[in-house]
């Protein structure tokens, strides 16, 4: 136990007050994200991540949002296990034909009002997989999408910016 406490003490807090490697404009993103969540979701934004057929690259970077550098939970953003608890669907991958039914059901199970954010180039437009016999391409071909976060995969910072964009958009 002492070893654990000692390691925690030595590691200290690595959470970055703001993303450090991007442009100066990113300075305010964290703060605006916090404000956006506070204003629109009373300080608590529940996200349900749905993989509609991705290669798992986007999932790795969404995971990174929860590591101690980004720690999006400090903005009131948390990932939930059921679409029924979610305010926002974070959808990755091209919409595969085999996931279309499950995706539509997940959308239907998410209570209104809800936001849909398509994550990654595949979710934006089909990406490297495009439209084919097995892929319907971008998520917008299956569901109404509020915001798109491009990148293959998008970095955790890009994900934070994209979430912000979704929050600051006027309601549909």
């Amino acid at each position: 136990m002492l070893r654990i406490l000692n390691k925690i003490r030595k590691t200290s807090i690595v959470t970055e007050p703001r993303p450090t490697t991007g442009e100066a404009a990113l300075d305010e993103i964290s703060e605006r994200l916090r404000e956006g969540v506070a204003r629109r979701f009373r300080g608590s934004l529940a996200i349900r991540a749905v993989d509609a057929g991705s290669c798992n690259g986007c999932e790795l970077e969404i995971h990174a949002l929860n590591n101690s550098f980004y720690d999006v939970e400090r903005f009131g953003i948390h990932f939930v296990a059921s679409p029924r608890h979610a305010d926002l669907l974070l959808i990755t991958g091209p919409a595969t034909v085999h996931m279309e039914t499950a995706l539509l059901r997940t959308y239907a199970a998410t209570p209104d009002p809800k936001l849909v954010v398509a994550v990654g180039d595949c979710a934006a437009c089909g990406g490297e997989f495009g439209c084919s016999y097995a892929s319907r391409g971008g998520i917008a071909n299956v569901l109404p999408v509020d915001a798109v976060i491009k990148g293959c995969p998008p970095t955790p910072q890009a994900l934070m910016e994209g979430l912000l964009e979704a929050l600051e958009k006027p309601r549909r």
Binding site: R3, K7, S54, H63, A64, T96, M99, A102, S132, T155
Partner: protein, 527 residues
């Protein structure tokens, strides 16, 4: 022992069984040997190979005019043998290898779904890769099937015939395809009594993106990009396997510096994934401390990758003829510093994981994969090494630059979640050794040779030891340097079925940690 010393014995056994072998070649698919056999001997050849303790490593087909060419791979002592046969495309029928190699089950069903091959004695008639959005006669990898052919309208998943629940107190738990965590989609069907899992069946194919079909007609660089997205966490290894296959087809050797940089990228990928997995395994039994520490180390590691190779996952770094990035001296120093950081931190963290009673309580004896089951299924990578199977391509059949590197591999026999985590912990240390050596001895020179498209019909096999285990990739070129056939075989094909076995008798709440310890790729096997 020399490579393929065992082959004469297998051929003698084939002869005893009156299995006719033709068109043997040690060059066509080098370093693998190629053997042509008659379709009527297909099943017996597998039976004979199974009796001779060969490992079964994959099957793929290709429509070539009036015939369907089918290839299966057998491995012994790290040497790969490709069996090839041709059957009429109009009425494709073959004996199944599944009765002798259970690990062949899903890949044969994949072939049946996508090509319409009738494996008449296959024990499982259910569809695998092609769900009910496709009519019975639609086989997407046949030439007559257009790549943009529209599916049937959305409809519920067919009534997949899971093993039905029987007996008082037994019940089913359906899970997925949309899971609770931030993970890929797939369906798990549990049969349970109380908390104990009686049986688990996996149902995959949800991320089937038609990768094999959309690969057709791409140029070499387009294929490398696609290969790097077969499975995002294995982007380096899959791109390397595809480029290796293409370069062998084109008889083109990448320059020494590129080869060393590829291994550097690959070992970085291995470490990144293992760091993430160790944290996640601990997190699945509520030990959040490890998750915070290891995800922190992983993040720092990914930042180093981004700074030196322009991408946090190192996507598109491996390209035909070489690599896309050539780190300069300060960047290489940053990589060295990254290694030093891990070397400094891990010795403090590992003893905590080793000694923590609550971890031991949950991980030791959980999800045991017996060595015999592991061997029967042909599992790969850390799954094999945790269950007493000592295989690693980098050492058993070294490809450049591993032929000049000392590859040490861990081996455990317990086969439980703890052993699979231990393999990862040890492999990180071994990979750090390799990285230091690669950085110290990085050859000078160019990092890319000009790509030249090979002649029509050239083919090649790429074989690399991915972080999950052996990856085998087949590429054949058509005319104009365009790809005619691409088949990337991820190790997950063999590791997923092991999860169904190792979960028996465990409690349902231990499934997440068992699953994490296997960490199969959905996308890599759904294709």
């Amino acid at each position: 022992m020399n490579p393929f010393d065992w082959l004469s014995e297998l051929l003698a056994r084939f002869q005893d069984e009156h299995i006719l072998v033709q068109r043997g070649s040690a060059i066509a698919l080098a370093p693998a040997h190629l053997l042509g056999i008659d379709p009527e001997d297909w099943g017996r050849a597998a039976q004979t190979a199974a009796a001779y303790d060969c490992r079964w490593a994959g099957i793929w087909a290709e429509e070539r005019g009036e015939t369907l060419q089918v290839n299966a791979v057998l491995v012994r002592n790290g040497d790969h043998l490709v069996l090839r046969t041709a059957i009429p495309a109009g009425a494709p029928r073959l004996d199944s290898h599944t009765p002798y190699f259970p690990g062949a089950d899903r890949m044969e069903r994949h072939l049946r779904d996508l090509f319409g091959v009738d494996f008449s004695d296959h024990p499982d008639p259910r569809r695998w890769s092609r769900h009910n959005r496709w009519p019975e006669e639609a086989h997407p990898l046949r030439k007559s099937f257009a790549a943009d052919q529209a599916p049937l309208p959305p409809q519920p998943e067919e009534d997949y015939a899971f093993i039905p629940v029987q007996g008082a107190g037994a019940y089913e738990i359906p899970v997925g395809p949309v899971h609770a965590g931030i993970i890929e989609p797939g369906h798990f069907r549990f049969l349970a009594v109380g908390e104990t899992v009686l049986n688990l069946e996996e149902r995959f194919g949800y991320t089937h993106k038609g990768i094999e079909k959309i690969a057709e007609g791409r140029d070499a660089f387009g294929l490398a990009r696609l290969a790097g997205r077969v499975c995002g966490d294995t982007t380096v290894h899959h791109a390397w396997a595809a480029c290796m296959a293409m370069e062998r087809a084109a008889r083109l050797a990448p320059p020494p510096r590129a080869v060393a940089l590829r291994a550097l990228l690959a070992e970085r990928e291995r470490i990144a994934n293992h760091l993430g997995d160790i944290g996640a395994i601990c997190n699945d039994v509520g030990f959040a401390f490890a998750q915070y520490q290891f995800s922190r180390l992983r993040e720092l590691w990914q930042r180093d990758s981004a700074a030196c190779f322009g991408h946090r996952l190192m996507m598109d770094a491996v390209i035909p003829g070489g690599v896309a990035a050539d780190p300069d001296t300060p960047q290489l120093q940053r990589l060295r510093d990254g290694n030093a950081r891990l070397r400094q931190e891990l010795p403090g963290l590992y003893p905590i994981l080793d000694d923590h009673p609550s971890l031991e309580d949950r991980l030791v004896t959980t999800g045991v994969l017996a060595p015999e089951t592991a061997r029967r299924l042909g599992v790969l990578g850390y799954m094999a090494k945790a269950s007493g199977i000592d295989i690693d391509l980098r050492r058993d059949h070294p490809y450049a630059p591993y032929d000049h590197l000392p590859v040490a591999t861990p081996l455990f026999s317990a086969g439980d979640v703890a052993a699979r985590m231990k393999v990862r912990m040890e492999e990180i240390l071994h990979s750090l050794e390799l990285l230091d050596k690669l950085l110290d001895e990085l050859p000078p020179g160019e990092v890319q040779r000009d790509w030249r498209a090979p002649a029509a019909d050239s083919e090649g096999l790429g074989l690399v030891e991915g972080w999950r285990g052996e990856i085998l990739t087949y590429v054949r070129f058509g005319s104009d340097g365009r790809v005619a056939r691409f088949f990337p075989r991820d190790p997950s094909w063999f590791n997923w079925p092991a999860l169904e076995q190792l979960i028996h008798g465990n409690i349902v709440p231990d499934f997440p940690v068992c699953n994490k310890s296997v960490n199969g790729s959905y996308s890599g096997q759904d294709l």
